[in-house]
Structures are given as structure tokens and as C-alpha cells.
Symmetry: D2
Amino acid sequence: MLIVMHQQASSEQVDAVLRQIRDFGLEPHPIPGKTRTAIGITGNVSAIDPTHFEGLEGVKECIRVTKPYKLASREMKVDDTYVDVADATIGKNAFTVIAGPCSVENETMILRTAEFLRGLGVRLLRGGAYKPRTSPYAFQGLGADGLELLAKARERTGIGIVTEIMDASQLAEIAPIADMLQIGARNMQNFTLLKAVSRSDRPVLLKRGISATLEEWLMAAEYILSGGNARVAMCERGVRTFADHSRNTLDLSVIPPLQALSHLPIVVDPSHGTGHRAYVGAMAKAALAAGAHGLMIEVHPDPARALSDGAQSLDFGEFQKLWGELRTLADALGRPIA
Amino acid sequence: MLIVMHQQASSEQVDAVLRQIRDFGLEPHPIPGKTRTAIGITGNVSAIDPTHFEGLEGVKECIRVTKPYKLASREMKVDDTYVDVADATIGKNAFTVIAGPCSVENETMILRTAEFLRGLGVRLLRGGAYKPRTSPYAFQGLGADGLELLAKARERTGIGIVTEIMDASQLAEIAPIADMLQIGARNMQNFTLLKAVSRSDRPVLLKRGISATLEEWLMAAEYILSGGNARVAMCERGVRTFADHSRNTLDLSVIPPLQALSHLPIVVDPSHGTGHRAYVGAMAKAALAAGAHGLMIEVHPDPARALSDGAQSLDFGEFQKLWGELRTLADALGRPIA
Amino acid sequence: MLIVMHQQASSEQVDAVLRQIRDFGLEPHPIPGKTRTAIGITGNVSAIDPTHFEGLEGVKECIRVTKPYKLASREMKVDDTYVDVADATIGKNAFTVIAGPCSVENETMILRTAEFLRGLGVRLLRGGAYKPRTSPYAFQGLGADGLELLAKARERTGIGIVTEIMDASQLAEIAPIADMLQIGARNMQNFTLLKAVSRSDRPVLLKRGISATLEEWLMAAEYILSGGNARVAMCERGVRTFADHSRNTLDLSVIPPLQALSHLPIVVDPSHGTGHRAYVGAMAKAALAAGAHGLMIEVHPDPARALSDGAQSLDFGEFQKLWGELRTLADALGRPIA
Amino acid sequence: MLIVMHQQASSEQVDAVLRQIRDFGLEPHPIPGKTRTAIGITGNVSAIDPTHFEGLEGVKECIRVTKPYKLASREMKVDDTYVDVADATIGKNAFTVIAGPCSVENETMILRTAEFLRGLGVRLLRGGAYKPRTSPYAFQGLGADGLELLAKARERTGIGIVTEIMDASQLAEIAPIADMLQIGARNMQNFTLLKAVSRSDRPVLLKRGISATLEEWLMAAEYILSGGNARVAMCERGVRTFADHSRNTLDLSVIPPLQALSHLPIVVDPSHGTGHRAYVGAMAKAALAAGAHGLMIEVHPDPARALSDGAQSLDFGEFQKLWGELRTLADALGRPIA
């Protein structure tokens, strides 16, 4: 941590800051400059809130140098993390596609979709039983019935299940059905939920909050890791900006810094990222080329009649075409779809 | 709702859209233009997801005209809503100040603060027992012990209690102590929590999510209202933008449109909005002048030693000075602090 | 400046950085920590681009401590700057209102407006002769004819003229008519234009770019100050965010930090900031209460027929009402409208 | 255009709006709904500012349906535009790489770079002679001397020159040297400059403003097209958001909608987009996979000693490696680098 004093700070003020640093059991390193003094701090700084020092007289600014996450950081664990989910592995030198409808609507559609996808070679099915919806009047998912249908789809096809958990109280119900628990963007900082899944033995797909910084996103992962669950994959699904040409702004540029700072794998959701079926393919290929470890894509047998997210869902023909393009690209990049 | 067709859309495509509109039980009104056709839709449009139509061939765009919230809207209820909390009323022709520490740290500090504030005439005390923190390693609040101390502060001074609920499972524990339940920015779209408080008899202070649009914020209020709890006050606490001169960008400009679109009262939190003690006073006065119904301000007996939010907390002297300035201003504006 | 080395950085890499720092004529101060080394740098750091160091091996991050602006900073000039414009002074313990139409449309409207405003006591008239318009097909202003009408308005009423300069080549034509040159948001980083007005003897109203940080905005002022023109007033007019409840997000929260960091006065434009006539008054009063030194407000004799910005312009009755409210508020705050 | 009336709007207010629409020579189409009236407008709406109607009594909102750009739109010109620059063609079924240093620093470095790039097969050299810099104290480019060196590089190697024009007054000086004029992000709405290059016979590379919507960006192109210069290529270079993991947020998601709405080709600049050398390669490949027509990449013989943008410049070895990867990927995608 680095404390920058005001130009006009008196030596008494500097001394008071030095004392407070030592009170915290840390070591101050004053750097007297031509116009002002700065103070480097070493020791176990991570527990200290930098705003403590900003409250002191004569202090202009307090700059955190060390990242606040530990278990999620590449410095703590140099090697890439692989997350096994059903018969897929997210993060190995391969490329994993999770596909399926926004929500489970009925038995026919989820079974048809699971069979279609499994037939192509897709290993993981997405599908929501509990749906977070902006409006209280919108379809909220089939709930327990939806979970049952997902279990049936797995039984019938062998495909792995990725489904969303919205609240800590749902864990006991969802965990037996889910091969992977999805935490949605709106819940990225639902700390009660993060703590609950941290004690589960299910791998977690952690979506980035709609305006989360990379640091906040990794701190959310840190909640899960520090609770004892090391099987976390990150999912970029678009952030909110001023731009209005798509539903969200899919932030592929987060992939390289995430991989530099953390060992956790990253999956990209171009369906929510763009909100438009016609743009999904281009962004899916871009994500693969940018180094993502996988994709999460919305597929529906009849998007025009979908109960949610129809405009961003691919139909079977569109998905099959994209699947072929991704395979070609993945082979050229030496990271085969698995 | 208005559907805009592509210039190249065929008359067959237009007909297919008209059919689908009628299938939903709605009435289409085609508007043939020089270069393209638009189709107005009337009927009970609110349950329809506009993206349904965007999936159809020949459709360029689908524009929602009617707002999706109802109970929260000024069109549904013309008169201002007043929310009674302990002996205060938020939203009347008065100005309500909620003040207190970020979190309850120990008995001495919370009692001293309650006594100091009550002595000035403040009617509502804020103080967190359960704290949402970005880092799993940061102080997470005193929990049940903190609630007990808040109850003691009320008993001792008569001040009303505003405290945060982080998860639906905490309702039974918190409701007896809280005169008002606070929902934090990170939980604005924790729909399980919104539904839980909608069935409570406690008034709710609903903070705006860090990147929530006004519509999304009102939709979150709609969850509470539609569940049966009409006592909701909104709280602007800063949004996330590119700007780095303060912790968040306090969006006072949301006050007039919120008041135009909704009957719910609005409170402003300049402490989180700015993140810097030195800027709190200016923004507090600006909020009052802009027409807010109240303020939520962090006050601590010794901010330099606060366990959280020290840099943005006022000490007693600073608060007392601001309280005087607010009274003068409120009198000049004809909305006395009550 | 502070350089943070990677945890894995070798001592050779640290030495290479120390050498390069000395090569620039600066002094390095290594701070060896438990897990990594940081290096403070003192000396004349302002000319050094921090990215230089980020290119070196073993360097993780380079943090600038000193602000890059000098003449605009409070540290260089402690006392507030007052900018005299015609018979007004922006920045003294008073409150200055600049009012008038978006653009000069014809002789009648500009003279009527000038007379109305001067009659109330307004000292400065805004009005565009050259208009930056997003569309090449929109009204681009009357140009030279517009300037002539502004001169006539001044001659007739004695009111001072504030008008926009869009390009360095217009300086010779505009300077004789303008008591104050306005630089629009889109031109905040038109460096050729900034250099041109820096050599003029006219005061400058520098609007904040639509996504400019406070630092970039002050750096734009620094261009003008460093070229020899010390008469700069800053103008906040709303920034671009995700929020869609108003045309821009008026950032009143920039006022206190700007005043802390700089001695330059600040004016607020609630007309562009909100884009809606109905919201202008509330934001105008909030700006005054937040400590702004003045306002720039769009007023038009017949907004419904304005050639530009009609929706955000007040008519005479609305302005007169607001003028009265501002006077009351300004008196209560001890900063009379002058 | 669609006008939405308030629920409480009287029939007199509706009639007044209908009259005003007819006064503008347009045709109104009232759509009476259950709770409110909407009015579709047909005719030549493009010249009308929607805010006109928002000023009228009883009007709630005015929604523009038709896009305001014409010449830049895909509806006006269905076929893709190709822009010939020196011996390259931007936009054909090929992939064009523009590479070179941020600024021309001296003869040796620019000639070495040109020779290196031309040797690999690169057809276009970037290099700034006039540099827009945030700080007045930073290196501002070599100016006329820089242009001369660029001319020498072209003469020596045959490589085409892309260089920035900062002000309309520089056109006569720069056009003879530049095979393509670059307009920087800060000047995207410098309308005097846009009009100047619209009358030039040089192709233009138009960078997206740091917070420009797709519509504003295309409107800036419309200025150039409507002035008579049809040879415009768009350049995405990152936008400003809350995210702090990279210098800007490179918005690859703008590629598909830009290509859907416009016939103009699009180039991506991953150097400014990321600001970090280590992230350039991943984003370059992603841009290619997303369908961009080309790249602009900063390359410098010795980035650690570059006078500007060192941290985001590739050295020769890094560029050569990326060039190879791009060729493999481009071949797999069937769009060879040309």
C-alpha cells in the first residue's frame, strides 16, 4: 500500500500516519520527495481497508498495490485450473460448449434439445428451472418441475446439466440435479449464496455482474474458493455501458487479463452478451480466437415461440452451422472442441 | 408496442407478424410508410416480451411504449406515497434524515451515536448488523449481536432503526428489530429477497443497484408492491460510470424523472455516493435542493478508527454543522426537516 | 511515481529498472516487501510517461502519484480564480447565470430574449452562431449573420455575449463579438482549438467532454492556461453513462473534487445535462446548493418552435419563475445572484 | 417517428399534435389504445428533430424509428464498400493489416520499421507526425519533419502511408503524403475537420469516439460521405466504460451490427483497445474471427524507448509471431491476409 501526503502536510501529520501504520503491525517506508512525502507500507496489508488512512489529516490518497484476492490469483497458483463437469473438462487444452434453452418450458422441448445437442457431441446442457426476471409479471420458470425434466434429459441422453441457483435456500433441491451450479450476473455479489455454494461439492459457473470490475468478479470467486470449493469457472456475459447496439457489451477484452491474473478458466456467453441471434456466431468465434475455454449458447427448437430470450436463441439449424464453424476454427487453433 | 419492419420486408412477412399479434390476443395497427411499414399494437401488451417479435422474419426492431411497471407508476397512483417509519414520515412535505454508522461495532459506539443524533432531533438511525462486503476477508458485521445492540439503542433513545437485510432467510430475525428494512444495492435484483420483504409488514428502503436503470429500479419496487407491501422508499446511492473522481457517481438527476414517473418517495445517500467525507455536505445540500425527500448519511464517533467506510463517515462535529446548514436550506425551500 | 514489480521478478530485473530510472535523471527508492518489491520515484516525474516502465521486464504496474496538471491545480495556486466577463464575475462569492437560446435563429427572437433577460438582471447571454450538430442534415447555425445579431443584442441591451467557437480558424471572426468563448463538449480535446484560444485575450468557458475524467478536463484547461490565457471557467454539462432517464447524466458530484483540486470556477448547464425542460429547475437549484459558481440555461421565446434543443429550453415564464427561486435559495446560502 | 401521448392527455392536446405534424408537411396516423393514444408519423421525417414534439403539451415521449444516416446505411447501398489504399483494398474478402509506430520519432526507426513490415508483406504503414496528446507537456510529434520521413519510407519501400490529420488546416500539408487520412477518436465529431476531408480525394480511416454510439459514429461517416468522399473505413479502438482491466474496452461486439446497418468496412485497433502489449495478440485474432476487415497494430523497433505508447507496442519479434498466427487463422476462415 502507498500513502500519498498532501504537499502542505506538516511533519506532525506525517508522524501521526507513521504511528498509525505501526499500530496496525505494519512497516512504513517514507519516501520524501521534492514537493510531498509518500509512504510505502509493507507487511500483511490485505486485511487493512485503505480508506482508514484516507481519513487521517494530511493524507491525500491511499493506493492499494497488492490485489485483495489470493486463492483466485495466479501468484498463489501458477498452473491453470481444470474444472471437471460430467464428462467434460473446462479449462484443459480444449474448448467446451454448453448449450440449451434459456428456460425449461416443457418435456418435449427439453428432451428434443438434449437429444439434438448430444447427437452433435455437445457434453453440457444449459436450462433454467428457476429464472431471475426483471418483471414480477414475467414467466419465472417451472421450478421443481423444471429440475425433474432436466434430470430426465440427463438420464435419457447422458448430457451434463448446468442450471441456475438463485438463492441459498435452493441448494439442497438443485445440487442433486445439477452437474454444475450457475450463479447469474445479478447474484454475483449475493454473498449468502456464494457462501452456500462454497460448501457444496458441485462445480460453479460464476457469471460476471453487469458492471463488475475484474477485481470484484475475482473477489466473488474468492468467496467460493475460500469456503472450500475450488471448482469455479468464470463466465463473461456482457457488461453494461453507454452502447446501445446490443443488449449488453460483450467484454472479450477481459479474457487476457483474467488469464494473466488468475488460474481459473473462462467461458463466454455470446447470447446474453449480444441479445441478437444474428450476432451470436461472430462473437462465439471471436471468443474462441481470444482464448476463452468455452462457450455458453442459447439454443431453442423454436425461438419464435420461446417463453424467454427468444430473440437471442439459435434454432437447431443455426446452431449446427455454428458448431461446424467452431470445429474448423478450434482445429486451426490447436484447441479441439471436446 | 411498435414493430418496425425492414425496408425490404415482403407483404407475406408483414402478414405473418399481423397474424402472430392477433394470436397473442392483441390488436395490430399497420402504418404503411414511404419506405417501410410499422405496426402499432394495442391491448394488454405488458405480459409480452418484445423480443418475441424481433425473432420474426422481416422485423427490424420492436419498441416498447408502455412502461412495464404498474403499481409503482404515477399513472396508477397519482398522489405521492408517504412511508411512516417509527415517528418519521418519509415523503411528506418534510425532509427526513437517516444517520448513523456503516456498521454496529460495539455497544458504546452505537449508543453514543444514537444519543447524539436523537439529541439533535434525528428520528432514524442507520447501522448494519449484517454487512455485504466485497472481500470474504473483511469485517462482515456483528450479526445477531449487532441487532441486539440496535434494539438497545432504540429502547434507550426512542430513535427508529433502519438496518440491512441481506438474505430472505434473515427476515424472521431482523424484522422485529428493524423499523425499516434496507435492501442494499447489490441485492436490488435478489428476487427471492424482494419477494420475502413483499410479504413483511415492515417498510422497505430499496437502494438502487450500481448500474440499474430507473426502469429496473422501479421494477424491483414493483416486486415488493405486487407482493403486498406498499411501504417502499427508494434510495439513490451513486451509480458506476467511467468517472474516477469519487467512489460512485451520485446521480441526483434521477430525482425529477423518478418523481414524474412514480409516486414513491426518494432518499439520497451522499456518503456512498461520494465515498469522501469532504464531499458529503455539498451533495447532501444538493439532494435537498433537487427535491429529494430525505438523506441517509454515515456518522461515526471516530471515523479514523471505523471498521468500515471510515473515509466517508462524518464525525459528530461535522454532522452537527451539516445539520444546521440543512435546516437553514430546508426552511428556505419550505420543506422543514422533521 | 511508484513502480510495482511482479512477485517473480528477479533482482536483475529490479536492477534494470533502477538503472532506467536513473537514466531519466530521477531518483529511485526501492521498498522491498515480503512478497514483492516496489520502487518509489522522486524528481521531475511529470514529463515521464508511466507506460515507459510498464514495458520493462518484471514490472507489474506503474502508478502515477502526482497529478499531471500544474497551472490548473490548487497546489500551484491556492486562491480561487475569478473570471471577469462583461460586467459579470464568475467565481467570486456570487452566482452568475448565463441564459439564452441554443442558437441564434433570427433578429426578433434574439433581441426579445436579450431584452427579457437583461430586464430581469441577467448579465450574460448565450447563443450559438456556429452549431456542432450530430447530423450533417441538421440546422448548422446562422454563422456570420448570427454573430452580427449577437453584437446587435449586446449593443441594444448591454448584455455580455457567450458564444461557441468550433474551430481555430473562426477565432478572428468570433473574438471581437464574444465576451466569452465557449468550447463545446465535443471539442474539449480539439488541441488545435485549445492552443488557439490560449493565445486569445478572451475568457473561455470550457465544457467537459461527454466522457472526460476530471483529470482530462483539467488537462484541457492546462492547454489554455499554459498557452497564456488564465481566464478559464469550467462547465459541467452531463456525461454519458448507461442511464437513460435523461439525455445525459448531469454530474454534480464533480463540483466538490474539482474545487478541491483546482482554483478554476465551475458553471453547470442543466439544460444539456437533463435534456428535459421539466427537470432543469430542480438541477439548477441543486447545482447552486452544491457550490457551483453559476449556471448556463437555455431560454427561448417559443421552445415548441425552436430550431434546436426545444425540448430542453425554458420559455420566459418558466425562466422567470426559476430566477425567483434561485434568488431565494442564493440568498439563504449567502451567495447572492449577481 | 412515433409520438406517445400521456394517459391523461386531452383530445384537444392530441388534436394540437396532429395539427403540428401536418404543419411540418407530414402525415399523422393516430393509434388509439386502451389507456393512451400513440401517433405514427410518415413522410420525410429525417429533417425533424424529435424533441420538437416532446415540447408539446400532453406528449410523453417521441420515438425515432428511421435511422438518421442515409449514405452510410446498408438500406441505401446493399453491397459492401471496398476502400482502395495504395496497393491494399480494405473490405474485400481479404484481411488488411496496418502496422507501425504510434509516432514517427526519427529517420532510422521509421525506415527500419517500414522495411521490416514490407518484408513480411504488410501493405500499409501507420505513423503519426501530428499527435493529439492529453498533456500539453507531452511529445506532440515531429510535424512537417515527420511527414517527410513518412514520404521517404514510402519511396524506399513502396508501403502505403496512413497518418493522422488533427485539424482542417493541415489538409493541404498532409494529403500529398498520406495514402489514407486517419481521424482520431477525439476528433470524431470535429465537424470542421470532417467537412474538410469530405472534399479531399484521400480515403479516410475514421476512428470511433471514446464514447460514441454506433449511430453517432455512422453520422460522423455521413458527414464525409455527404460531402462527396465515399472512401471511408471505420476503426474501432476501444470505448470508455467502468472497466479498469485495460486502457479502454475494445468493443468487438460492434462489428456485426455495424456490418448489418452499414456497407462500410471496419478495422480494429487492438493496441489502443487494450493498452497492453501482452493482450494485443488475443484481441487481434478475436477481431479477425469476429469478421473485421483489418487491423491497425502498433509496432516499434524498441518499445521500451518509444516516445509514446511504448507499453502497447509490439516489437518486431512479437509482431512477426502474431503475423504468422493471423495468417493461419485467416486461411482457416477463408479470408487470406492480403
